[in-house]
């Protein structure tokens, strides 16, 4: 069963929840898909056993074959190509902006002159390691790089069917979050009972409903703020899977990267219970009984 942990708002406790969930399971796979700032390895401290560079294909134009017809720029959905016709002020040229290219291949496919071939552009690395019984995989996007989705997809290619998989998703509700949660059997949304927490929670709920993914909520720092998040979950029939009260001890252990701290050990039974409940919910499409 594949469970993804997302949030909308950042800093609500995705990593805390996903790591504790993974540590309460037998031989799971843990995927840190927050490739823009992966941090789960700081807690798990896995030994890395393999590493691969990930690239996206970007067009390379052979200007000796190019007629500067402009077809490639016209079909590029990301506006990553400019074709300058030859004229009085300049000779013909094709400018490719690799940072905007998503590697879809349309330009090469539709070039009438066969002037475009693809060359790899590195965007980051995927590493695989082990810690105890956990099969650990994470991606790390190159600094300054904006194209995180292909890297997230590559991290997810390591998923082995039949295993319990925990995916730590990036915050937000845009392409990287969607790439991370897509295809999972259940999504846990971690939020906090504040107006900001609720606002982003609602956005994340809308995304998951569009994706038709069953989901439930974990309310972190559940004894601060107001009741609007609980009220919303009640009204929308979103199961609240766990409430984690605010605790200075948790914050201290987290800030030291000590996920094996007794304060987390005490929560492991709750996480095992949550996993059992998710199994049941997932079978019923995420609605409470």
């Amino acid at each position: 069963m594949i469970i993804s942990i997302a949030s909308g708002k950042g800093g609500t406790g995705k990593t805390t929840v996903s790591l504790n969930l993974a540590l309460s399971l037998n031989n799971p796979q843990f995927l840190d898909c927050d490739v823009e700032e992966p941090n789960a390895h700081l807690f798990l401290k896995p030994s890395i056993v393999s590493s691969e560079t990930v690239s996206v294909p970007v067009p390379e134009v052979d200007e000796s074959k190019c007629t500067f017809c402009g077809k490639c720029a016209e079909v590029c959905a990301y506006h990553a190509i400019a074709v300058i016709p030859s004229g009085e002020r300049s000779r013909g040229k094709v400018l490719v902006f690799p940072n905007l290219c998503h590697g879809c291949g349309s330009c090469g496919l539709l070039c009438p002159c066969g002037a475009i071939k693809e060359a790899p552009r590195n965007i980051g690395t995927v590493e695989r390691g082990v810690k105890g019984g956990i099969d650990f995989i994470h991606g790390s996007l190159n600094v300054g790089e904006a194209m995180s989705v292909p890297l997230i997809r590559r991290v997810k290619e390591h998923i082995e069917s039949g295993k319990d998989v925990v995916i730590d998703a990036p915050p937000g509700t845009s392409c990287p979050m969607i790439a991370a949660v897509k295809g999972s059997d259940f999504c846990i949304l971690v939020s906090e009972p504040t107006p900001f927490g609720l606002n982003d929670f609602v956005l994340a709920v809308e995304v998951l409903r569009k994706l038709k993914l069953p989901f439930g909520a974990v309310i972190n720092r559940s004894d601060i703020g107001d009741s609007s998040l609980e009220d919303y979950c009640g009204k929308e029939e979103i199961p609240v899977l766990m409430r984690i009260p605010f605790s200075r001890k948790i914050a201290e252990a987290y800030s030291r990267g000590e996920i094996g701290d007794p304060v987390f050990q005490e929560l492991r039974n709750d996480f095992r219970g949550m996993h059992e409940r998710i199994r049941g919910l997932s079978a019923k499409g995420g609605r409470p009984a």
Binding site: G70, H79, I81, P85, G87, R89, S90, K93, L95, L100
Partner: protein
């Protein structure tokens, strides 16, 4: 000679739009006849690549000079590769910009004067 001024509106009394790639209108002017044509910027709402595509439009239109407020790095690269003169930091009305250009008040900009995506913030 054909030049282009980025404009907030369709007339010469409109303000110069400080954005290049995401300006509201491009005003194409024939400096010999004084005839002009205002065109809606088809790239204004692009998520990315607005400067690149607006730069390509300038090349396709065969303009010799672009007069605007700010130019980002990608647009600058396309315009430079097209051999188009770039005048940045221009404000006031389009008419004033044309007069300033004809009077030789502006110096060509050899580098971008704003970052990528700045036109999305300055809307």
């Amino acid at each position: 000679m054909k030049i282009c001024i980025t404009s907030a509106g369709e007339t010469l009394d409109s303000a110069v739009d400080p954005r290049f790639g995401r300006c509201a209108y491009f005003i194409f002017l024939d400096t010999d006849t004084g005839n002009f044509q205002a065109r809606n910027n088809p790239n204004a709402e692009f998520q990315g690549g607005a400067g690149i595509q607006s730069g390509q439009l300038m090349a396709a239109e065969g303009v010799s000079a672009v007069i605007t407020g700010n130019i980002g790095p990608n647009a600058h690269q396309v315009l430079s590769a097209s051999g188009i003169d770039i005048f940045t930091g221009v404000c006031g009305t389009v008419k004033e910009a044309i007069e300033g250009y004809k009077a030789g008040k502006y110096k060509p900009a050899s580098a971008p004067n704003t970052g990528a995506k700045s036109g999305m913030r300055e809307k």
